[in-house]
């Protein structure tokens, strides 16, 4: 009885906040409603007995993904008139996609048979196992290869994102590792005994390295030999 009431509360708030996500004007409010939707979905998982999945949903989606959404949306300066124009231009395409999805849903549901007892049967976990242990056994014992394949797909996506957004601008500092390893203490450090009461600057200053960072920078990166010369040229006007 109580569980049913809680289920309907969570489900109603979930649907309501899902509707609000696409209908509110303010993008920050939209993201906050999305977070509310995630949270209620976690509540539904909890009622279904999947406590591990519920916690994971909150940690991953609410705690990490949605925070990044919120960061981006808060920092962006969203222009509403521009958005309105885009809406009118893209409305036919959007309507097409929506119609196709709706037709597919209708087709799927027309062939859906619901067993009256299935909802009760699915709640029963394996005897003597906690939720987490049952999931762990499934993923790491029975379906370990599929699980590894999923991980590989995610890894490819991650590397792809990095490759797509990485730009060599020549402003990064990269060292020639062999040269850096070959440097010795004598090349870089000089211990000077200064006479008491004398001005340090008159004795040659604080920094007197034998070799500098510019010599070990990789060509094309910040501070490499050619960039250094160009910078000097600009400074001297030669």
């Amino acid at each position: 009885m109580l569980a049913q009431v809680v289920f309907y509360v969570f489900a109603a708030v979930l649907l309501l906040s899902g509707t609000m996500v696409i209908s509110v004007r303010n993008p920050v409010h939209a993201v906050l409603f999305l977070i509310l939707a995630f949270f209620n979905a976690a509540g539904l998982f909890l009622i279904a007995g999947a406590e591990f999945l519920a916690m994971l949903l909150v940690i991953v989606y609410v705690g990490a993904v949605a925070v990044l959404f919120l960061f981006v949306v808060m920092m962006l300066d969203v222009d509403f008139t521009q958005l309105r124009e885009g809406l009118q231009r893209n409305a036919p395409i959007g309507a097409c996609v929506g119609a196709i999805l709706f037709a597919e849903l209708v087709m799927a549901f027309s062939n859906w048979t619901m067993a009256p007892a299935s909802a009760v049967a699915s709640v029963q976990a394996a005897p003597g196992l906690t939720n987490t242990a049952a999931l762990g056994t499934l993923i790491y014992t029975h379906y370990v290869l599929l699980f590894q394949a999923c991980g590989l797909v995610l890894l490819v996506a991650m590397i792809g994102a990095i490759v797509l957004t990485l730009r060599q601008t020549g402003s990064g500092r990269r060292q020639n590792i062999e040269k850096q390893h070959a440097r010795t203490r004598e090349d870089t450090l000089e211990l000077v005994q200064l006479p008491l009461g004398e001005n340090v600057l008159e004795q040659g200053g604080f920094l007197r390295p034998g070799s500098s960072y510019y010599e070990i920078a990789v060509p094309g990166s910040y501070g490499s030999a050619e960039q250094h010369k160009e910078a000097e040229k600009e400074e001297t006007g030669a």
């Binding site: 406590e51 940690i59 609410v62 960061f71 808060m74």
Partner: protein
């Protein structure tokens, strides 16, 4: 009597309320006296006396401050998003209280002894970012917004290291239940075999609660006070309580994960005949 409390709905609800109060009231009193202690210690470091007027040794200072805070006017800045502005402190405070539901203070003595306790703690502490982000955004102030972004960025980044430390403890325990984590330390506290992890957790906990030397988000000299610049009266009080409750929660987590919870170190409970149910 037992019949009423355990077998009727009203009795169970009353019992639940009493359990909750038994956790939250000591927590709030602890917040009151830990702030007093902090002020006393800081005063001693600066050769001042600290609060010493209200009550003996200034013991009633925190309550005087609370009454002052409640009776002050709530100022909502012009152009602020009213609903979100008032929602943020409530969120921060209630999350700080919610997390205490799973903290065990004795064998099986938790309000909710759930199987995924440590994940619950991680989930609640990752929700804490929203109170800060919403407060910073809804204040309609540059200082608050910058402070909120800084705070949120810091919390999100140190959550990763906290997660990794928790994973290493979980590998040693083999359970997500906080009670089992404590009972796994009955031979030796985890801070001995996992000393580096203990240090990492301590540093991350400092960063997570924005305490010195990680009080960059507060940035007194450039951001005034961070994300809660615009808050006053009870709303500020809720942020304050939430922040200090979070500090005690982090200390509680260190205690559960590394310092053996309610158990004495090195299996000394055998010496004085304390019985520990094996987990």
């Amino acid at each position: 009597m037992a019949q009423f409390f355990y077998h009727t709905l009203a009795g169970q609800i009353i019992l639940m309320l009493l359990e909750t109060l038994a956790v939250l009231v000591p927590l709030l009193i602890a917040v009151a006296y830990l702030t007093l202690m902090e002020r006393k210690v800081m005063a001693a470091m600066q050769r001042r006396r600290g609060p010493n007027v209200n009550g003996p040794f200034g013991m009633l200072q925190a309550f005087a401050d609370a009454i002052k805070m409640i009776t002050k006017e709530t100022v909502i800045p012009a152009g602020a998003n009213r609903a979100l502005f008032l929602f943020a402190p409530f969120l921060t405070f209630s999350l700080a209280m919610l997390a205490w539901a799973v903290i065990p203070t004795g064998n099986g003595l938790a309000v909710a002894d759930i199987n995924v306790g440590i994940l619950y703690l991680l989930a609640i502490s990752s929700l804490g970012v929203y109170g800060i982000l919403i407060a910073g955004w809804a204040s309609n102030s540059r200082y608050a917004f910058l402070g909120g972004l800084r705070s949120a960025a810091q919390m999100v980044s140190y959550e990763v290291s906290i997660g990794l430390v928790i994973v290493s403890v979980l590998l040693a325990v083999g359970s997500l239940n906080l009670n089992d984590i404590v009972l796994a330390q009955r031979h030796i506290w985890f801070c001995v075999p996992m000393f580096p992890m203990f240090i990492v957790f301590f540093i991350s906990a400092l960063a997570e609660t924005n305490r010195a030397p990680f009080d960059l988000p507060e940035g007194e000299s450039e951001l005034v006070a961070g994300f809660f610049v615009e808050y006053s009266s009870l709303a500020f009080g809720l942020f304050f309580l939430g922040e200090y409750a979070n500090m005690i929660l982090m200390s509680g987590m260190i205690s559960i994960l590394f310092l053996g919870g309610w158990l004495p170190p090195l299996g000394w409970h055998r010496l004085h005949g304390c019985r520990v149910r094996s987990g």
